[in-house]
């Protein structure tokens, strides 16, 4: 079962013009750097009028559910799960 976190994190986001791909490359959380190896799903939803982008990603050992609030331009680590 995923563990709820809901903490602010730093995310390094890559935007590739040639193929239109956008994905997180690194997450910095509690002073540790996690390199993302796979994006499972990128979806979005609205909370009221605010558009929230959700990236479900993994570094191979941990699963991360990241939320990007397009109003505040902040990243939140919503959940993690260990392999």
């Amino acid at each position: 079962m995923p563990e709820k976190i809901h903490e602010s994190v730093s995310v390094d986001l890559v935007s590739e013009d040639h193929n239109g791909r956008i994905y997180p490359r690194f997450i910095k959380w509690h002073n540790r750097l996690y390199r993302i190896t796979q994006v499972g799903l990128h979806h979005w939803l609205r909370k009221g009028r605010t558009l929230i982008h959700i990236f479900s990603v993994t570094d191979g050992n941990l699963f991360f559910r990241l939320a990007f609030d397009t109003d505040t331009l902040r990243w939140t680590l919503e959940e993690i799960e260990e392999k």
Binding site: G20, G40, L41, W44, G48, S56
Partner: protein, 435 residues
């Protein structure tokens, strides 16, 4: 009645529809579980299940393909599922993820034909009869759709596709090979398939219909196909016999679109209760959700219907049509609570449901001479605007404080009109950044 059905004397035996198949039924395999495995690669290949609630009494909504192989089925309780599979990973549903995948899938399918029907969160039917893509060939189109789903939505997502001359047989074909199947039923191959299929395996034939058919000597799909029309009319004692006769011969009888007739919400209580205070708070929240959806779609309703399923599985329900149309949740609640407490039964409630029927399109611009009505309209519109801007239940009745985790967002079973309405309200390409 569809006008391409053959006219015939009821005592003539018609043959299987000779037209080439142009109906495609698409079914996302183990939808919720597959989407969760797509999102979290660490879950792939493992037995997982999405359950309404992750507690032992929670109902399994979607076991993964791996879990199904171990005997876990839809409708089981979590504790029963764990008996089949002690290592089962149980997840709560994430409706917005599934809606997103549904909309992405719909966007792909609409590139092939304009005639796409959303049957449920995981089933769609495409009609290629007049589609410009038809010359490509149905199987080629189906294979292309499967490839694009893997490339554009997610590599773990598989669909089973059925192709036939009508919706019923296309759905039957989609069920032949799961997961990731692609099967055709047409005039050249239906016989061996029908001979191997027990009649109760057909969609729409459950215990009662099976008994009706068995009584007239129909035990397999082949018997069903061979049965003369008078036999089927006698078995079903209604025009349904004629509809089944046409279905089994590959003619379309189900191409009917039903308009929106009601809006409703229901809730399965985790703790059964007959306490009026608890039930009235639950009813209040259900009505708030129903009222929002009713107004969002631009309707008012003359009728309110309440259903209670009790702990002993008995049911009580009552509906009433009122003189004036309602749109404000407070008015719907007053009517609904009156109906609920008019029930003569005093038993613990297991499931509570409310719905609004006899819908009327609201003319919001229509002026009113009644000051109170004008004030109510303004108040309701203002509250809806706030909730639209900041999120559902930002402003709510005080009695709902503390109920954030009660009656939470869920995907309804079966046909979901909101899915199509959602697509038109919020096109995917608004922020289509890919992944």
């Amino acid at each position: 009645m569809p006008n391409h059905n053959p006219s015939f004397n009821s005592y003539e035996k018609i043959s299987f529809n000779p037209e080439p198949p142009t109906i495609l039924h698409l079914d996302l395999n183990s939808c919720f579980a597959t989407v969760e495995q797509q999102a979290n690669p660490l879950l792939r290949g493992k037995p997982i299940a999405v359950a309404a609630y992750t507690t032992p009494n929670g109902c399994v909504l979607a076991p993964s393909i791996e879990a199904k192989r171990l005997g876990v089925t839809v409708g089981m309780r979590v504790r029963e599922a764990r008996l089949f599979c002690p290592t089962l990973i149980v997840l709560p549903p994430d409706p917005w993820k599934y809606r997103f995948v549904n909309r992405k899938l719909l966007a792909i399918l609409r590139e092939y034909t304009a005639d796409v029907k959303v049957k449920s969160i995981d089933e769609m039917v495409l009609n290629f009869t007049h589609a410009p893509t038809l010359p490509k060939g149905m199987k080629t189109i189906a294979a292309e759709i499967k490839r694009r789903i893997r490339e554009e939505i997610g590599e773990w997502i598989t669909v089973s596709v059925g192709i036939a001359t009508n919706q019923f047989l296309a759905k039957t074909a989609a069920g032949i090979h799961k997961p990731d199947g692609l099967d055709v039923i047409d005039g050249t191959n239906f016989a061996p398939l029908f001979k191997s299929l027990p009649v109760e395996k057909l969609c729409g034939i459950k215990l009662n219909n099976m008994a009706r058919l068995n009584r007239v000597g129909v035990f397999t799909a082949w018997n069903f196909y061979q049965a003369p029309l008078p036999t089927l009319t006698s078995a079903f004692q209604s025009i349904c016999g004629y509809y089944w006769y046409l279905r089994m011969h590959g003619y379309e009888i189900d191409d009917v679109t039903f308009g929106r007739k009601s809006f409703g919400n229901s809730y399965a209580l985790p703790k059964f209760t007959e306490d009026r205070t608890t039930l009235s708070r639950l009813m209040l929240k259900l009505v708030q959700k129903t009222g929002r959806r009713l107004r969002e779609a631009g309707y008012g309703a003359y009728g309110v219907h309440v259903t209670c399923t009790f702990a002993d599985y008995s049911t009580w329900h009552h509906g009433h049509r009122f003189k004036s149309s309602m749109y404000a949740s407070e008015d719907i609640y007053k009517r609904a609570i009156g109906i609920l407490f008019s029930s003569p039964l005093r038993k613990p409630v297991r499931i509570l449901a409310v719905s609004c029927f006899n819908l009327e399109k609201r003319a919001l611009s229509q002026l009113t001479l009644l000051t109170d009505e004008e004030k109510k309209r303004s108040r309701v519109a203002a509250l809806d605007t706030i909730n639209n801007r900041y999120g559902e239940f930002t402003v709510m009745p005080a009695r709902l404080v503390g109920m954030q985790n009660t009656i939470i967002d869920r995907i309804a079973f079966g046909g979901v009109k909101e899915l199509e309405e959602l697509l038109y309200r919020e096109p995917l390409d608004v922020a289509d950044v890919g992944s």
